[in-house]
């Protein structure tokens, strides 16, 4: 089942639909082969995402989180709906939530008194919108392509927001830039990406 997954060349990667199908299979019948294939493909991506640019997390921490995300994938796969989100989008939200959980547990504040869980605030189904996913696979490819062609300063800011989980204010002080500059770089980058999504 997962023999051809090791190929690193982006052009020979299976389509987004391939991963969505596998994820639905896990959800429907707890298919371990499908889960193994997802694990082979996504674990290194999650690991890389969390360790981004050395500004990310410590090695052991990200290892722990990678496993946590994959456990969530297994447990929540039954609620995954491929007509609403690509597998990668769904797994991104699980990864994001695992990081929020982790940071929260390690913050000084007493999480015991908290009536809310991370999932109460960041529900992975929140942004699910069936109608914009009509051409999900094509859109995902185009967004990925466009991301590579963004001006590097816009790309850098988006990476810091998403992959390092930094607020605009934190990025501004790290890069020694005015807050307004960081905001407009993020906005410009998103605008171009969204234009692509909207066409589809």
């Amino acid at each position: 089942m997962n023999t051809q997954m090791q190929d690193a060349s982006p052009n020979s990667n299976p389509s987004p639909k391939h991963w969505s199908d596998l994820l639905e299979k896990v959800g429907r019948s707890q298919d371990e082969d499908a889960f193994a294939a997802l694990h082979t493909h996504f674990s290194p991506l999650i690991r890389g995402f969390l360790q981004a640019h050395g500004g990310g997390m410590a090695l052991e921490t990200s290892e722990e989180l990678v496993q946590e995300v994959m456990v969530k994938v297994w447990l929540k796969a039954h609620s995954y709906d491929s007509s609403k989100a690509a597998a990668s989008t769904w797994i991104f939200t699980l990864t994001r939530n695992a990081r929020i959980d982790f940071l929260r547990k390690h913050a000084r504040q007493d999480a015991q008194t908290d009536p809310l869980t991370t999932e109460d605030i960041w529900d992975e189904d929140d942004g699910s919108q069936p109608y914009i996913y009509l051409h999900q696979s094509r859109t995902e490819k185009q967004v990925a392509h466009l991301l590579k062609t963004l001006p590097s300063e816009q790309r850098q800011c988006l990476q810091k927001v998403y992959m390092e989980g930094k607020s605009h204010t934190e990025i501004a002080s790290e890069l020694e830039l005015p807050l307004g500059t960081v905001k407009s770089r993020v906005r410009l980058g998103l605008k171009r990406l969204q234009a692509t999504i909207d066409v589809n």
Partner: protein
């Protein structure tokens, strides 16, 4: 109709999970009422997915999963206790809370809401959220009442849950999301026909020292406005 939304930067920070817990609660409350922002969020999540898709680890020898990784993953999964079905945790009832966003209902206290009278026409109920950077509360303005002009001295987000109010800048209806920076004074007036209920998320006063601390941060002097 909803006219005021979180700006794109705020929504991006929320989608990325880099937005503060307290502010995220207010964004979530707005999302529950705003299909337009939910649609926007789904696109922002796709950007996250695109970044995930190209996140190969820095060194290639760490990127390979070994078979034992998967074995230990499955072992962990099998050792997990059976999932309990998640009961709906809902707090005390407001007179009419059926329409409130789920996130707000989850924040309501178990017994009854303790309203504090701020002025004859304004009542406030503090909500516990497990963090102290932002004060999260409900505000209830009696119909037709004017609230004294105020400035919280910190960032303030208001999300309208019921009724409507207006101030110098316009009229705000159910679902509207407003963020005011420190120093922006306003004097809201509730609509004549209904009490106005809002969720307020206000930068806690103790944070002011932090803000002052940032004033001597040299980068801040570049900031416009």
């Amino acid at each position: 109709m909803i006219t005021f939304h979180p700006d794109e930067n705020l929504l991006a920070e929320y989608a990325a999970g880099s937005l503060d817990w307290g502010l995220s609660i207010s964004v979530k409350a707005h999302l529950a009422m705003c299909p337009q922002c939910r649609r926007q969020l789904s696109k922002l999540n796709m950007v996250g997915a695109a970044l995930l898709n190209e996140s190969a680890p820095a060194s290639s020898d760490m990127s390979a999963n070994t078979p034992s990784d998967f074995d230990s993953l499955m072992q962990k999964i099998r050792s997990l206790p059976k999932q309990e079905s998640k009961g709906v945790t809902e707090g005390a009832k407001l007179e009419d809370n059926s329409e409130l966003p789920e996130i707000v209902r989850k924040l309501l206290p178990k017994e009854r809401i303790k309203w504090r009278r701020v002025s004859p026409s304004l009542r406030e109920a503090q909500l516990t959220t497990g963090q102290d950077k932002y004060e999260v509360c409900l505000h209830k303005i009696s119909r037709g009442a004017k609230v004294a002009e105020h400035d919280h001295g910190g960032r303030e987000v208001t999300v309208i849950l019921q009724g409507s109010f207006s101030d110098e800048d316009g009229t705000y209806n159910v679902g509207d999301f407003m963020m005011r920076e420190p120093g922006q004074k306003h004097r809201p007036t509730a609509a004549q026909n209904q009490d106005c209920l809002c969720l307020s998320v206000v930068e806690a006063p103790v944070r002011l020292t932090g803000v002052l601390g940032k004033l001597i941060n040299p980068f801040l002097s570049f900031q416009p406005g």
